[in-house]
Symmetry: C4
């Protein structure tokens, strides 16, 4: 039993180091992890730069293995130290942590196989490690809430944008034809999205007067409707902020049980009975 207690104690300490940033050890662990994540991202990027990756091949190779081994230990430690490992493993961060560790091992097993290119692509997916960083970003609850609240509306809006792009893209395909670079409807729709979102690469551009007129209409439309998602988020965020300012609390009247009292209210807004603040 003493043995068992010690195990629990040891697990609890590990839990403290990994999951709590308040203890000195926990803080050191967090800083080391943060640095390793950033280093790892930089290494993945360096690997893709031709001249650079050849010069620093050995360095990148060994660094990557060191980082991967550390991430492996981190992943195992997280599973051991938590009470319900399944909950962690299938959580967002659990999956990210798994994907951060596995690519190198996979590339190790598949080496020599013909699917070299696929393996290389797989290795590059280590870039998703950057999502591990989101653990360290403040929650910024209000912002997230505003986006969440307006997500449905923004999706409807973006869907409407896609519908508009499909229709105008087809019209442009009919008007401009294949000589101007509008080779097919999908390409025309792609061009239309490029234009409506005001990106405007210029790799494809209308050359006929009618095409340019329609393009101008699409642009002005894009310029006008960009206001819609902005207005939505703006209003939602403003509303969520106002709710926070007025500070409606969860108190309820002892007399009539009415709720939604303003912070600092002394009398029930419903029956006039005195409210007792904590």
């Amino acid at each position: 039993m003493n043995q068992k207690l010690q195990t629990r104690n040891w697990k609890q300490k590990l839990h403290e180091v990994i999951y709590e940033a308040d203890t000195p050890m926990g803080r050191i662990f967090d800083v080391v992890l943060l640095i390793l994540i950033l280093l790892s991202i930089i290494f993945v990027m360096m690997e893709s730069v031709k001249g650079l990756s050849e010069k620093t091949y050995d360095f990148l190779y060994y660094s990557e293995w060191i980082i991967t081994i550390f991430f492996t230990f981190e992943y195992i430690a997280r599973i051991i130290s938590i009470k319900k490992p399944a909950k962690y493993i299938f959580s967002f961060y659990g999956i990210i942590d798994f994907l951060s560790t596995i690519p190198l091992y996979l590339s190790f097993f598949f080496i020599g196989s013909s699917a070299l290119l696929t393996v290389r692509a797989l290795r590059l997916l280590r870039i998703f490690r950057i999502l591990k960083i989101s653990r360290y970003i403040g929650e910024s609850n209000k912002l997230a809430k505003a986006i969440k609240d307006s997500r449905a509306k923004i999706l409807v809006f973006l869907f409407a944008v896609v519908v508009v792009c499909i229709i105008t893209g087809t019209l442009m395909y009919i008007i401009e034809g294949e000589e101007s670079g509008f080779k097919s409807i999908p390409i025309s729709v792609y061009w239309c999205i490029v234009t409506l979102t005001t990106v405007g690469y210029g790799d494809i551009a209308p050359v006929t007067p009618v095409g340019q007129l329609l393009a101008a209409l699409i642009m002005i439309m894009g310029y006008g409707i960009i206001a819609v998602p902005t207005g939505i988020v703006s209003a939602e965020y403003s509303a969520s902020q106002k709710a926070a300012i007025v500070n409606i609390n969860s108190q309820s009247c002892s007399n009539c049980n009415a709720s939604k009292h303003q912070d600092g209210a002394k009398f029930c807004h419903n029956c006039g009975h005195t409210l007792f603040n904590d």
Copy 2:
């Protein structure tokens, strides 16, 4: 009369299947229709891709006929099952449904005629079928209301943008001249719209110092005035949302006849008389 009742019964059932999504049959009908619309859009797009359309010619040809026949039955069924067919036929969806069905028949009748290109363009208009989908998008009333409320102001604003583009376009034509690609005033105005809306293709770009200065002014102006439509929609949407939050009801006081009472108010805000809620 029994016959008549049966007919009505049969029509009513059709009406339920087509117009109501709550019954099991209605739900199946909706899903089948949705899939056919999306397939149809994909087929139109595939048809325009060179290599693809040649390989899959037969498949596309027969699929298109099947979809069109289904849409024909749907159109006829909608007309039969409704009490006032004229109202449906000339409604937005009635016209869309008609245009979704007719192109293939037309191309069939005109085949062999010299106006082959026009017929092909006609067939492509099947893309408008995507608008049939809007039946399935939630109303999102508040958003639609905010856009509707600010439509007039946004149109005035966009008209002002066009006026600015015509004037600055003419100035650019005078400054840059035809060597820089500003071949005529319409082209210059087109360039000006491309610039002001921050699309910026780069197919035409000023090369003289004075032209670049004016272009920079137009861009900064465009960057500044994009705020205007956004501000309008944002404020309108915010207002329409606030009205929904405060929930001013149409109740009026039985004592002093004052109106605009907040939802849930128990006493008149004007004379203090008790309000009777429904």
Copy 3:
């Protein structure tokens, strides 16, 4: 004296036709003017299109003269029919009306002179006639007010943008050098404005890694600070709209002389004395 009265009467009628849109004659006058303005704009544009202007030279020449003569009569009539001609002549519309009429006469007098190009440019300034149209656009007072109220702040903001562009433009000139198209600081500043305002022509683009990094920073900055003017207009417009909703009136208390009473308020918010509404 009878003569004088008749003159006044005649002038008054002219005033009615020109300045008032409520009378039948006034409405006809407005419609004719509107059509002539739009035609004139179209003619100026046609003149600049190479192939088109040669084919329709005679038509454009005579049409222009007819329109100009009409505008001349309009200008003279406006001066005659108003009580204080000076006030009209030096008003915004007075200047626009003058500039709408004079270019053709000037080109007539200067014809044959060597300054042909300048004269042609002068003729093109007829495009400013489009501003005559603004007489017919509804005032949209609230919108104009919101822009007016936020003008100072937006100008300060845009000035800050220019300062940022001058500094980053110089840095890009140092980093990228003249080989990448950043030929001089003014060009670099121009590029920087193109990038920050998210126009992005692509005629000049950074090629060195450091330059691309700085460019990425400028873009993200531009993406972030576009929020500022939008936020300003949005808030100002929202405020001007709210003021309209709350309806603070100009009434003042008969007892304590306090003002800014809400519409419909029955008692002074300052001393509690009864307020007498009109």
Copy 4:
């Protein structure tokens, strides 16, 4: 002691001229300084324009020395006339003033040395003098406050944008490959930032269908999420403005010590006791 008083007097006068814009001398000083700053910026720009700088070499050389000497005197005068020179020297404007003066001297000392290019770059840093101008821009406190309040949130947002760009950039590198211009992950991330911020140079553009599809998704995402920073600033600014309208003051009731009284309130909103305004 008389001597000492005179010195103080002389210093005080200098302080008035330099730091106060209300006295006639102070106003003249400000105007001269403003003109010199703007001239200096124009000269730096002219220096970089090839043809221009050769023609006007002598003029630019002597002008620059005159301006630099004036700025030197200004810098020394600012140090002398203030009570705590250290506070000025290490303030934002102190550093800017120092950097505005030093480049020419440095270039003088290093002349003939091999590091010619670096020295030239150093001289161009005179462009930072433009920041001296910010002394003359009105504070526009509310705007600055709104940006300050939303800075943290905008930074989190922009960081999220960078994370998205790194991930999608890597995906594009895998999809498009090096033939399409996506030569390495950093280049792909750069392209992704160019696209997401709707700049869209077009120097790199996807050519494969899958790449164009992903690009379209990034664009639509960029179009949708531009709403986020705008919404934040808009709401913050609106809130800061509302606070300014209601004018909640820091007064507290002498009876119950409740605070957050509205400006001009005469009675405590909590206990009804009379409030004594200053």
